[in-house]
């Protein structure tokens, strides 16, 4: 009896509390509490992420076992031929590691200031494509900053910032849309995330030249993102005469399922978008 009665009030009470939290969250009132919670959560999340990186690799190995076996046979044969060159290769490997560290994104783009961060968590909801990184306002990160991989492939934008961590909205999130252009034909469009974590280029004019294999870059239009960051490659083009625009499926340049380390571009200043002001130049008539 008591149990039934108490259940009757608990659900409405918790629902009202949740809705109140939703409203407070949207208004930013509970931001300090969320910041405090993230200070506790982020280190645990990072520790778990590090732990599961190893397990994730093991999962991948199992998944690719058949392919790896074939590769292994081929590599075994190659290995016999390469034994005599082993010492020289080790020297080259060491040199290669040094060169790789030098040939990073920052050196290819000397005017761009970046901050490296590790991915420590993914969005628990399959509807949303966000990742959590281990850098936040303490490192100078701000919402809207572009996030890329070392190969200048665009990952997404910083959506929310806490002192020690940040949430990054990936390009494939269903509420993400960025201005892009085809590298070869300079045709512009919008790269929109899809519910299945795919990427679709829309708003392509019917007379625009789009082919499978074309590279798609950020256009810089709108002033929110730096231009010429690699977004993806066209894998399928849909063109119907009855439509106003073409669309094209894109394969993202960044592998979002294997993101481990990203670079946040910290010195790009988005153009401020302000609402149109009332004309003030006309003097008001005096009586």
């Amino acid at each position: 009896m008591n149990r039934g009665r108490s259940r009757a009030w608990l659900f409405p009470a918790l629902s009202v509390l949740t809705i109140a939290l939703l409203v407070l969250h949207e208004s930013g009132v509970v931001k300090p509490l969320e910041d405090a919670a993230q200070i506790v959560i982020a280190p645990v999340q990072r520790a778990l992420s590090d732990l599961f990186n190893g397990l994730g690799d093991a999962f991948d190995v199992v998944r690719d076992a058949r392919e790896l076996r074939e590769d292994n046979e081929e590599l075994r044969r190659l290995n016999d031929a390469l034994v005599t060159e082993n010492v020289r290769l080790k020297e080259l490997e060491a040199e290669n590691v040094t060169l790789r560290s030098l040939l990073n994104f920052t050196q290819e783009n000397p005017t761009v200031a970046t901050h490296a961060a590790a991915v420590i968590g993914r969005d628990p909801s399959p509807y949303r494509q966000f990742v959590t990184i281990n850098a936040g306002s303490r490192e100078g990160l701000e919402p809207g900053m572009a996030v890329v991989t070392a190969g200048s492939a665009l990952v997404g934008r910083v959506a929310e910032v806490w002192p020690q961590s940040s949430k990054v909205q990936l390009l494939t999130d269903s509420t993400s849309a960025i201005n892009v252009r085809i590298q070869s034909s300079r045709v512009t469009g919008l790269a929109e995330g899809q519910p299945d974590a795919g990427l679709l280029m829309t708003q392509i004019p019917l007379d625009g030249m789009v082919n499978v294999g074309d590279i798609v870059l950020s256009s810089g239009l709108g002033g929110n993102l730096p231009r010429s960051l690699v977004v993806g490659q066209v894998t399928e083009v849909t063109r119907r005469d009855v439509d106003l625009f073409q669309s094209a499926k894109l394969r993202p340049a960044a592998d979002f399922n294997r993101l481990e380390l990203v670079l946040v571009i910290t010195n790009f200043e988005p153009l401020p978008v302000e609402p149109e002001e009332e004309p003030t130049s006309t003097p008001s008539p005096t009586p």
């Binding site: 149990r3 659900f11 949207e26 628990p124 974590a197």
Partner: protein, 166 residues
């Protein structure tokens, strides 16, 4: 369960949801273990405890997600209610019960989540979401539900106070 144990337990399950479980992704979905834990507890205890678990776990998920704040909490509370009603209803068979409850509960959870998403003005194609995410998630969760239910049942037996013998 003692709240001092339950809250950290739910936080750890939520963190696993954002770190480990996306690695066992099939298609666009991965198992929702927190949902299965809440559902199992509601089936086992049929009490307000499962509702509280849904609230705490849901808020933790919402903190880790870019989705609308509170959506997971409300969704999980609905799952707890459905599971509680199912446990006392027609499905007495404890083998089929978790599977049915997980399937129905997952669909309800996604329905509530999509409503909350629409409520805050975020655009998601409902048909795409249903066939590419909600339905595969329901099947994935149903497939794992019996295992999670058995684990939670073992936990329940371990911590349930023993009846006094005279």
């Amino acid at each position: 369960m003692n709240p001092y144990v339950a809250v950290p337990f739910l936080l750890i399950v939520s963190l696993l949801q954002s770190t480990l479980l996306p690695r066992v992704q099939v298609g666009s979905v991965w198992p929702d273990v927190l949902l299965l834990v809440v559902m199992s507890w509601a089936l086992l205890r049929r009490s307000n405890e499962a509702l509280s678990w849904a609230f705490v776990g849901g808020i933790a998920l919402d903190l880790l997600s870019g989705g609308p704040f509170g959506a997971s909490a409300i969704g999980l509370m609905i799952v707890a209610l459905i599971a509680g009603v199912t446990a006392g209803g027609v499905f007495r068979d404890r083998t089929v019960l978790p599977i049915v409850a997980a399937f129905v509960g997952t669909l309800a959870f996604h329905g509530v989540y999509l409503l909350a998403t629409a409520f805050v003005g975020q655009r998601i194609n409902v048909l795409d979401a249903l066939f590419r995410i909600a339905l595969p998630s329901a099947i994935y969760n149903a497939a794992l539900s019996w295992f999670v239910y058995r684990v939670m049942a073992a936990l329940d037996r371990r911590i349930r106070p023993k009846a006094l013998e005279w």
